[in-house]
Symmetry: C2
Subunit: 469 residues, 2 copies
């Protein structure tokens, strides 16, 4: 097909789609709000029924949108919803991945409105899951409906929507391995990342991996009175703080032995290229009300959040946290500690290095227990593939600007797993923003972004089918 012909076809498709979206946008929004209202918190077992309810919701929406063979596939944990529309074996196949589970909403007291009661204000949907990933995932179901209803579906399509992304996609690998034939596709399309800004579209071309641990320090066998025992007994909180503090040196390098051994260092040229990305430090600090940024010596803020590994305490608790004073030395103290990994670190190896190191730095006066919660591999996605090119053209058509390839700081461990288990590359067409506060109180998703996603996704199908010819 000639470039001109493609362009004129695209123009006509854009027009048809615009009309369909204008007509149905309010319903799209109402539907995604219905999905958001289901508090499908996968990490907390008390929400188990809700997680299952979200799977049923997705199943019904896929059927309504026109998918065939829709099923709620049971796993050892939460189910994976599958559906497909195979229109022509000669056409390329797109496998859409997303997740219907969400992070916990706490701290609840910091939400302006209830986290599972979507509030639409100032051009945003405010709710847990609004962006991550219900809002972004649902764009794909609506884009599919649109292509079906406007007779513009240009590729075969398969959906695989899971309910355990926020707890490490623990059963997805086995599902992929067991269903290699069924999941066969030319590309995996995922919207679970962000862009630099609404006027600076970008496509994520790399992600960090993750090792997430829980540690427990035990000293006396019961809580003690700090007056009677203070000074003579190891206080597990003090010890835990000392151990955590020692995990970084004075340059904010991580001290876990062997931690950096496999880290892929970027060349000066690559770093210079990265430095060209638009970034305003003053604005960054102001948006978060930071007195100053803080990180590994020798690297810029953008580098610290993308090409460098990290170690963060995500939670800590022990002793008395109520009102007023309680003079106690607790028996135990706990922390959740996670490390973001970069190519070519291996999650399982880092988990082992951390465990050994953490055990080795405990003083003889305490007992230490380290539990691995979950992990995922870092990944770099190709930017020279047909799929990437198709995504680039799709963004350029709707945003009017060529998107920038961007290394993301977050982790979508399944991208590396898909490559290993299915040998399919992913394209990360994210439409979120950093300011969407995913995993935080008052998570939101722009109505602009929701709509722009539904507009851009069908164009990817068009370009991908054209370029594959």
């Amino acid at each position: 097909m000639q470039q001109n012909k493609i362009q004129s076809e695209i123009q006509s498709i854009v027009a048809t789609q615009s009309q369909y979206i204008a007509q149905h946008h309010d319903r799209f929004l109402a539907e995604v709000c219905d999905l958001i209202r289901i508090p499908s918190v996968s990490t907390d077992k008390s929400y188990a029924n809700e997680v299952h309810r979200a799977a049923e919701f997705i199943k019904n929406q896929l059927i309504t949108a026109g998918a065939d063979n829709v099923e709620v596939c049971q796993t050892a944990g939460y189910p994976i919803v599958y559906g497909e529309k195979l229109i022509n074996p000669a056409l390329p196949t797109v496998l859409v991945y997303g997740h219907y589970d969400v992070q916990p909403a706490d701290p609840l007291e910091l939400w302006t409105s209830p986290p599972f009661e979507p509030r639409i204000a100032d051009g945003y949907i405010y709710a847990r899951g609004a962006c991550d990933d219900k809002g972004q995932m649902y764009m794909h179901i609506k884009a599919f409906e649109l292509m079906m209803k406007t007779n513009s579906l240009a590729c075969n399509v398969k959906f695989m929507i899971e309910g355990e992304e926020e707890i490490g996609s623990v059963n997805l690998g086995a599902f992929c391995t067991a269903n290699r034939e069924k999941l066969k596709a030319d590309v995996i399309l995922i919207s679970d990342t962000g862009m630099i800004a609404n006027d600076i579209p970008s496509i994520t071309a790399g992600l960090r991996g993750l090792s997430y641990m829980e540690v427990e320090i035990t000293s006396p066998n019961r809580d003690l009175h700090s007056g009677l025992y203070g000074g003579a007994v190891a206080n597990p909180i003090n010890i835990l703080c000392q151990m955590i503090a020692s995990l970084h040196d004075e340059n904010n390098h991580i001290t876990v032995k062997g931690f950096y051994d496999k880290v892929a260092e970027l060349s000066a040229a690559e770093r210079a290229e990265m430095a060209k990305a638009p970034f305003d430090l003053a604005q960054y600090k102001a948006a978060l009300d930071l007195p100053d940024v803080h990180g590994e010596k020798g690297y810029s803020t953008l580098e610290r959040t993308s090409i460098r590994p990290t170690l963060d305490v995500n939670g800590i608790w022990g002793g008395y946290a109520g009102q007023g004073a309680k003079t106690v030395i607790p028996s135990k103290a706990y922390a959740k500690i996670s490390m973001r990994l970069v190519p070519h670190q291996v999650s399982e190896e880092i988990t082992e290095l951390f465990t050994k190191h953490f055990e080795s730095i405990a003083p003889p006066s305490v007992r230490v227990k380290v539990t691995a919660l979950h992990g995922g591999e870092p990944v770099v996605t190709p930017t020279d593939s047909v799929a990437y090119k198709a995504a680039e053209l799709a963004y350029e058509t709707t945003f009017g600007k060529k998107p920038i390839p961007q290394r993301g700081g977050g982790s979508i461990p399944i991208v590396a797993m898909f490559k290993a288990a299915l040998n399919i590359d992913s394209v990360l067409m994210g439409f979120g923003l950093d300011s969407d506060a995913i995993h935080s109180p008052n998570e939101r998703f722009g109505l602009f972004n929701f709509r722009r996603g539904i507009e851009t996704i069908p164009l990817f199908y068009q370009y991908f089918a054209s370029l594959k010819k």
Copy 2:
């Protein structure tokens, strides 16, 4: 009075008392259990009604026991229950101090039975407040009843039972200053400490002071996703851990600038004397299931818990503490930090030194807030006074052994305050044990100790009256 005559009088009193206690012991126990059932947690405002109910209970018990002019004296906080029996201005006057408020019961899940439902088993009362201080304070009311009913009250007596001991006795100082005349006495008698063991009676002759602080570290203005921001933004938990870790050096000396400036160092002879106190390190470690003890270099365990100041984190919290994983960088992290003080440290000065120091060690990437919660002065009580001698004789009579003077590790800040405000020395006739787990789950008080207290207290009155003649 001749020594012989005293001894024979004491013998006869002991016999009369024994009979009375045998007859009424079950009722004494039932009454103290009724008191314990009132969850008078002073630090948590949601228990305010219960704290007031405990005050009413004490008032009624004092009236029933035979006290005059009983009143619930209002303060800016919880009331102080006062009562008296003035039988003869020529006799010495004993002022009994105790408290009817208790520590919070959490962590609730570690209690074998509900904390405010006293359980009697294996010779103990298990409940919050069983020892600290309801059980010990109530011994005085029952000893008073006994002396009234057996016509053996040998001194005038005044009761001052407060409801804010666990939150720093914030209104007691003002009450004392305003009621100097009313509270006039020759000695203040307090049972809110322990003995070395049931077969090694001891009298507390010194107590540590306290400075109790809450600290808050703020970094970003909202919780952040650790993937998107990790590595570039100060994580308030990591920073808090680093700051706390730096409060001790490698010898477990406290690094707060000026902290040791006023610490009274004991002479080699005094330390040698202390080292004679019976202490079994292996047993100590076994009782608490400690892999090892842990404390300031150069000092023994007994010294670390008595003559040396300490710094302990009593609580820490921040980020996610629920099930599973949440990849968050929290906006804030908190800790409760207390320091036990020794003569001649001054609580207010230490509070100021800590605040300055803690603010000074914060990196520029965070904001720090330090709040003083409460404090109290360290104290050494005289062991050469008539009152101490009377206590010594009383213990010797009931335990058959001369009690050892002991420096306690805990704090009863009001002992120093009483000296300053009323110019009265205190005698600390404690009957608890370290194993009573005060401030911990499964707090208990031995039935043996409860009874031995009720037996010993009237003998103190006898000896004190005799020696004062």
